[in-house]
């Protein structure tokens, strides 16, 4: 299993190295001008890291029949799934922690900090679920078929969100003030923990999918 984790880590590293370069550049060039909040960038980056590294590694596996190679080696389906989920979890946790730490370090005023931390962590949970759903699709359908359905559904959801979420939020009178109050109530912490627990169950479910699936 560690062998697989190491290979995936190298794959993630490809995305983490440019992140470091960007952050170095960001702090010297942009931050002083306050043109782009690092918080938004890191949220975006967490999503990009999971989506990008997962797509490249899984399309590579499919092209090379990687899962067929693995199925002839002494490694169980459980270990294959565990290594994938563990890497997603580590990558998202690291970026989310980095985000929170940077928010605290670069803190100019306390105003809005709680909300940013909350959004950062909930976004991290969203990225975990996104990765888990991708893997469920991959082990059920194979990468190519999964992307066909998944991306269509994903783009459809984004379009729906862009057009309707704003209206729904304003209809429910959820504005910045409400979000601030919600973040101060710390109710989001159990929600985030529940999100991580859901991720664990998605992992368990993926093992079942992998164990009953024919060759992917």
């Amino acid at each position: 299993m560690w062998k697989l984790i190491r290979i995936q880590f190298i794959n993630y590293l490809r995305y983490i190295i440019p992140l470091g370069i960007f952050l170095a550049f960001y702090f010297t060039e942009f931050y002083e001008g306050g043109k782009l909040p690092v918080f938004v960038f890191l949220c975006f980056w967490a999503f990009l890291l999971i989506s990008g590294s997962l797509s490249t590694s899984e399309s590579y596996e499919e092209k090379n029949n990687g899962y067929r190679i693995l199925s002839s080696l002494p490694i169980t389906d459980r270990e294959i799934v565990r290594s994938k989920f563990l890497m997603v979890f580590c990558a998202v946790t690291m970026i989310t922690l980095l985000n929170v730490i940077l928010l605290i370090i670069r803190l100019q005023s306390v105003e809005g900090l709680g909300m940013k931390i909350m959004i950062g962590i909930l976004w991290g949970v969203f990225c975990l679920h996104y990765g888990a759903l991708m893997y469920i699709g991959i082990f059920k359908l194979g990468y190519t078929r999964m992307t066909k359905y998944f991306w269509t559904a994903f783009l459809f959801t984004i379009v729906l969100m862009v057009f309707f979420v704003g209206d729904v939020l304003s209809g429910l009178k959820i504005g910045i003030d409400s979000l601030n109050k919600f973040s101060e109530s710390l109710l989001w912490i159990p929600i985030a923990i529940a999100g991580v627990i859901v991720y664990y169950f998605l992992y368990k479910y993926t093992i079942r999918i992998k164990e009953i699936s024919e060759e992917v």
Binding site: W2, K3, I7, K63, N64, N65, G66, R68, I69, S71, S72, L73, P74, I75, T76, E211, I212, E214, E215
Partner: protein
């Protein structure tokens, strides 16, 4: 007898094909050849043995263990060469060894190096530039370098030119000398199996219709060449594939030991001749005799 592989009532259903309650056993230290026409279910059987696909029912025990809790242990003791050779195409042999060796407890780098040298494979060339024969040889090197107790081979010589096919068969004959190694291989090339197997299993339409030691099979199946009316009617009616010949007729029997006594007189007179058959004769007789 000690068995390394025991399969009982193994069933796998696909649309239009069912592997139908297949049972067989592989004695320790023997080579068993699974033969059958294309589409008979040989690859399905082997994939089930490797736990690469899921069975509908039945039992597979390897080294007395089943896959449910012992997959790693079983696969650590198995060497596998598939019908298609899958490797990471843009990697080299060096990389492949580094990758694969990490999964095995007993990986022997020296043995791998020796096999690569023996097969004259280039260490630093990308695998996508390898021929089919080179990939098969690399598969064998990977399959043998962790000192497996059981080799499972799915049509290892199919699609290879005669020279490489011969090399692979020679390697298998060499492996046959190692008494601790058992081999289960499938093929539709009967000559290959006949040369190296101790035991033959014949599969047709998802069912095993023969599972016997080669020597027993050859003792039971004989070709009888006879002059007209030199055979008892009962014996003649029991022959398969009866053909008219210039000086009489010929036919194949699968009950030679039972009828041998009744042939003695004809043999003395020279009216009857007995010949050994090859695996092809047996298989054709089985298909025609159905």
């Amino acid at each position: 007898m000690d068995y390394v592989l025991e399969v009982k009532d193994l069933r796998k259903k696909y649309q239009g094909f069912t592997l139908n309650d297949v049972s067989f056993r592989l004695p320790h230290g023997t080579i068993t050849g699974l033969i059958g026409p294309n589409g008979a279910g040989k690859t399905t059987t082997i994939k089930l043995l490797m736990n690469m696909i899921r069975k509908n029912s039945g039992e597979v025990k390897i080294f007395g263990l089943d896959y449910s809790n012992n997959e790693k242990e079983i696969k650590n003791r198995i060497g596998y060469v598939g019908e298609e050779q899958y490797f990471y195409q843009n990697k080299t042999i060096k990389w492949t060894e580094k990758f694969v060796s990490g999964f095995y407890k007993n990986w022997d780098p020296e043995m791998f190096e020796n096999l690569i040298r023996k097969f004259q494979l280039p260490l630093n060339k990308k695998i996508k530039k390898f021929s089919k024969g080179m990939k098969v040889k690399l598969s064998f090197a990977v399959a043998l370098s962790h000192n497996p107790e059981l080799l499972i081979l799915d049509e290892p010589t199919s699609g290879l030119d005669p020279v490489i096919r011969r090399e692979i068969l020679d390697l298998l004959l060499e492996l046959k000398q190692k008494e601790e190694l058992s081999v289960f291989l499938s093929s539709h090339i009967t000559d290959d199996l006949f040369r190296i197997s101790d035991q033959i299993a014949y599969m047709v339409d998802g069912e095993i219709i023969i599972d016997e030691f080669k020597d027993d099979l050859l003792a039971r199946w004989k070709k009888i060449i006879f002059k007209t009316e030199s055979l008892q009617a009962e014996v003649e009616n029991g022959l398969i594939n009866v053909e008219k010949q210039l000086f009489g007729s010929s036919g194949i029997t699968d009950r030679y030991s039972e009828i041998a006594g009744s042939l003695e007189e004809g043999l003395k007179k020279g009216d009857i001749k007995i010949e050994n058959v090859n695996l092809d004769d047996i298989l054709i007789s089985l298909v025609n005799g159905e």
